[in-house]
Amino acid sequence: MTGTRSKSFVLWAIVWFDLILLSLPTIIIIGASFTTGDIVQFPPEGFSLKWYGKLWLLDDFKAAFFRTLYVSLICTAVSIPAGTLAAIGLARYRIHFQTSLQVYLLLPFTIPLVVSGLGMMIFFGDIRILGQLWPVGISLCIINLPFMIWAVSASVNGLDYQLENAAANCGAPPLQGFLTVTLPGVMPGVITGALLMFILAFNEFLVSLFLTDARTVTLPVSIYNSIRSVITPDLAAVSVVYIVIAFIAVLLLDKLVGLELFLKSK
């Protein structure tokens, strides 16, 4: 085996510190959401589910929740074809300016979110679609598109191209080869990417802050607005909704493709 006892001690000490750092906010929020008191404090005052009960009575919360769901679904639905096709195009076809195109497709990452958000706010305002909900979904797809392309690229690069050649050799026309060989082969990447896109859109805050108004506010933006005023325990309950959704997404990702996928070397 590699290493000594001191190695394992030092490394695990740092990792345990990481683990505390990573999970502390989550644990504290869950704890705070069960308080019986009217202010957020820790340790919580007593134990009750009253803030969860109140949650379902809040029409604002429910409306914001469903709006967030709606934009996240649009984001996912648009990014699946766009990202999958782009990843296959980049990995499987001879393309001029390959590097330039890659740099271009990384623009959503290299342009700061605050600038992307403002730019789209001005542009959407100019073509008079600002204030509607569907452009928010599209914008969330744009800013996170590299994640989708990444996820599918990993799968395409792992897929033996001889399979596609074999299909063509056996007489499969282009579309059939694509639909019955390439697409099923890259499915793990598509699923990973789609889940990532959904969860990132569900959490996205800054671009949504620019593109929504009081009528179209999404959940992360409304949490942000509440944080800036009085912090009440119902916010902790809302946050727990996020924690639960994140937990479901992690389990789903693990079940469908396995989290170990992210450890694979390129």
Binding site: Q41, V114, E260
Partner: protein
């Protein structure tokens, strides 16, 4: 001729596929097949083009000075906004604070992330690996706003830490709305990104290299410095670029945990647009931020390559 007759006995799926194939051949004939790669890229290129349009708008705004008479941007072109942004000591402080913060967060995050990625990749038990993966993905999927809110409960006046402090008879501390709180929040936010970009690079390191180094008598720290770190270079590049640029351009953590006292560039841009109603100045600051971020990425990439950030193997 019999084949035509037989085709009606084929399953519906086959006939549908054949029909789709004929439509595809009609819309995209064989002569165009060498361009199929470009066709597949079109939707993604168009989507990203929206950002280019946005950037052009911002660039345009930045060249018009605010007319204080009617609070609109003047028609005439000028570089006044850039001049104001560059010469103002307020903005210089903000830019330096953001750059320093990004540097600090990058160094600390990678220091914390490397052992995590290393142990996760090298874990012998599947359970350990799974535990580390889930602990990483859960906060990653919870998002910045909710996590910042968690820190507010921990660090706030009536928060967890102050409750502990007062329990032992000390007076409550000012733990929030300051620079360290922002840095802490950012490190916690960046940690999953860093680990996920480091892990593939560490996976690629052959374990025998470490064994060889240690069997030749190297201390594990020497092995780490001379074997593991250099071989993990693609991951170190990928994670530092992402952590640095995301921190440099972050808005939420300085806003929520800094409470207006420790603005980063993004906060100044926001204030330029919405507090000062000076979209020209905000746009000029935006362009400066884009330039700073791009310059950093370009310099790193041209020195060291794209690391774990490239889309395909060919990019290496």
């Amino acid at each position: 001729m019999t084949s035509v007759k037989q085709s009606s006995h084929f399953p519906i799926k086959w006939r549908l596929l054949d029909a789709a194939e004929r439509v595809a051949a009609l819309v995209w004939p064989r002569q165009l097949h060498s361009y199929t790669g470009y066709l597949l890229l079109v939707p993604a290129l168009l989507l990203v083009f929206v950002l280019v349009i946005g950037l052009i708008y911002i660039g345009g705004y930045s060249l018009h000075e605010l007319d204080l008479a009617n609070y609109r941007l003047k028609e005439s072109f000028s570089l006044t906004n850039y001049y104001t942004a560059v010469t103002s000591t307020t903005y210089r402080t903000v830019v330096l604070r953001s750059l320093y913060g990004s540097f600090l967060v990058t160094v600390i995050t990678i220091f914390l992330a490397f052992p995590y990625a290393y142990l996760m990749v090298r874990a012998r038990e599947a359970m350990t690996r799974k535990f580390l993966l889930i602990s990483l993905f859960l906060p990653f999927f919870i998002g910045q706003i909710v996590r910042a809110y968690g820190w507010l409960i921990i660090l706030g006046k009536e928060g967890l830490l102050n409750n502990i402090v007062t329990f032992f008879g000390f007076s409550p501390l000012e733990l929030i709305y300051n620079y360290p709180a922002v840095i802490l929040g950012l490190i916690q936010y960046m940690l999953p990104f860093a680990v996920l970009l480091l892990a593939p690079a560490i996976t690629a390191i052959n374990r025998d290299m470490e064994l060889a180094s240690e069997s030749l008598g190297a201390h594990w720290i020497q092995t780490f410095i001379h074997i593991v770190l250099p071989m993990a270079k693609p991951g170190l590049i990928g994670s530092s670029v992402v952590v640095f640029t995301l921190t440099l351009t972050d808005f939420a953590m300085p806003e929520i945990l800094g409470g207006g006292t420790t603005d980063f560039i993004a906060n100044s841009i926001y204030d330029g647009f919405f507090q000062l109603s000076n979209s020209g100045l905000g746009a000029a600051l935006s362009m400066i931020l884009v330039t700073l971020g791009t310059a950093f990425v370009v310099v790193i990439f041209s020195i060291a390559g794209t690391g774990t950030l490239g889309f395909s193997r060919r990019s290496k």
